[in-house]
Symmetry: C2
């Protein structure tokens, strides 16, 4: 590990936390739990902070990003914080004209669809990452022995936004570029890998004890397209933090068919969405791979006995793997009653 001496994983006690132990394949006394998108719109204290403040401005304000990151830890008693950010933040820091439009998502001023468009992309100036490093440093100073997870999007998902110009249903323009101009595609994903890798590295050096790489949209790909035209760039992104020795979690939606290939990029832990049960995921990956997931968000509004039975079933199936971190199979829906999340944490810790 090439971590700074003052890093929480070295001298801050996070190495002994249930989360990091589970990420390293151990079984702590209680099942660690956190929730993807736990920091965000489900929390009234978050909505209050965000009034009049654009999403990307919040991500780039160290005081705010830190406070938002800490809110769900205080409220729910989860076993980890995840740094509040957005997949497109490193794109913005690299000079891409992108904004997040409420109710729609990231929208780009221009699309990247040709070799010339790709060639015009500039590398990320490391100095631009200082608000991120500062936000992380403020956060870990408060967290003590609760680990912070660093956050970044994977190259394919970033490329999907860059090519489509915004959210899309099937990312077809991106997938088309992959086959119609493979050289431009490779250049684009290589650029995205280095940008998002630098974003991850800054978070780890500033104090994150683990990282999660989100390839949100990669479930739209076949295994052959993923392995031939995408996975090497995810590995390239991960390579930016490999020497730091923090656990790497990897996750995407609808990736039951891709789990093994996604693990092979250098991930330590696989996040599993709610489409396949954890015991089946473990069968596909091998029992030695720690799993994270996969409460179905569609149960969050169900009567508690129905939800409780589902959560216990997820925990039970998670025993098929060497280690298990409880989470949702997708992000917390904005309309979720936060009290329900707290109750799930209590159940996991009981």
């Amino acid at each position: 590990m090439n971590l700074p001496a003052h890093h929480p994983l070295v001298d801050g006690g996070t190495a002994a936390s249930p989360l990091i132990r589970a990420y390293r394949g151990d079984r702590p006394e209680t099942t660690p739990v956190w929730f993807m998108r736990q920091a965000g719109r489900s929390l009234p204290e978050y909505r209050a902070l965000r009034v009049g403040m654009a999403m990307l401005d919040a991500c780039l304000d160290p005081e705010l990003s830190s406070e938002i990151t800490l809110q769900p830890v205080r409220r729910h008693g989860v076993d980890a914080a995840i740094f509040f950010s957005d997949i497109v933040v490193p794109l913005r820091l690299a000079g891409v004209d992108v904004d997040i439009v409420p109710g729609r998502g990231p929208v780009l001023g221009t699309t990247i669809r040709t070799a010339r468009d790709v060639a015009a992309l500039r590398p990320l100036d490391p100095a631009a990452l200082s608000p991120i490093a500062e936000g992380v440093a403020r956060t870990v100073a408060e967290l003590g022995s609760t680990p912070l997870i660093g956050f970044a999007g994977a190259p394919f998902t970033l490329a999907a936004y860059l090519v489509e110009g915004g959210p899309s249903k099937d990312h077809l323009r991106a997938r088309t570029l992959m086959h119609s101009d493979p050289a431009a595609w490779d250049a684009l994903l290589g650029w995205a890998a280095d940008v998002t890798g630098a974003f991850l590295r800054a978070q780890v050096l500033a104090g994150a004890s683990a990282v999660q790489l989100f390839d949100s949209w990669v479930g739209s790909l076949s295994v052959v397209d993923y392995e031939s035209r995408v996975s090497q760039f995810s590995a390239q992104a991960i390579a930016h933090v490999k020497d730091l020795g923090v656990p790497v979690v990897h996750f995407g939606v609808g990736t039951g068919e891709l789990l093994r290939s996604m693990h092979a990029i250098g991930a330590d832990v696989m996040g599993v969405d709610d489409r396949i049960p954890l015991d089946e995921a473990s069968r596909r990956l091998g029992a030695e791979v720690p799993l994270q997931g996969n409460i179905n968000p569609a149960f969050l509004a169900a009567p508690w006995p129905v939800l409780e039975r589902h959560v216990l079933d997820v925990i039970e199936r998670g025993r098929a793997a060497s280690a298990h971190v409880l989470n949702l199979g997708h992000g917390v829906p904005p309309e979720t009653d936060p009290g329900v999340l707290t109750r799930i944490v209590e159940l996991a810790h009981a």
Copy 2:
């Protein structure tokens, strides 16, 4: 078969067509081919006809729906027509306030989210189906021995629109209703099954020689949710045409994990999207199940040699199944060069 004596499958020659032979498990001399969404925005003659005409109005005008259905058969020489319609047409005919907004998709005037909302839905008056029957009758009169495929959406996909009030990324509100109010969910899917089943039956009685049930969004479900809360209603929809003895094709996006369960509802042929290769789909389903698919639409803009190699690979992998109908793994993208589709037909027939 309880088909009328003048039905194309009885005395119109479609029974001997390559498409129907393949759907019944046979291997005709050349691979039959058609394209999902072959009638539609990729064709300039379609765009010309639709100027100033709302989508649902076009679907409910027998002369127009017939003409639009015939356009791709004339242009590409495909082995089948598929009746031009929309998944929400039977909802409109049953009195649901729904419209199709260009660039967005179906949008409902009110959402269906409670038992009371579901109870207020009315059954479909069979008389409302006359523009559909007339459109089909006009079409088959022109088609001769080329079969027409009837078209309908499956109950889950219809329910997703009804609950969400429009297109959505993950259909979470629908999936939430499934678990928070199972009785209302069952009533909603039962209603949708009968509405879409009646819509299919009208098309077959008027001359369709096969049907395809589209469960477009069902790939968002786990196998357990699908089998416990959805599949019985898809079977109920199919039951409306079972006595007519026409081949039933079933298709959904991202359904590699669900293929066996979807086939079990009473489907004869499984459509496969582009995420898994046909030989793998055949391994999951058993070689006796005829397959349809699965050219990756992301290749349609690639240089012809790249696309040609991909199409030949799809045909080769399709040999794993007893029978194969070539198609895309998803609908024709609107920006597709129609000349490319014609070239694929020529390649399949060569």
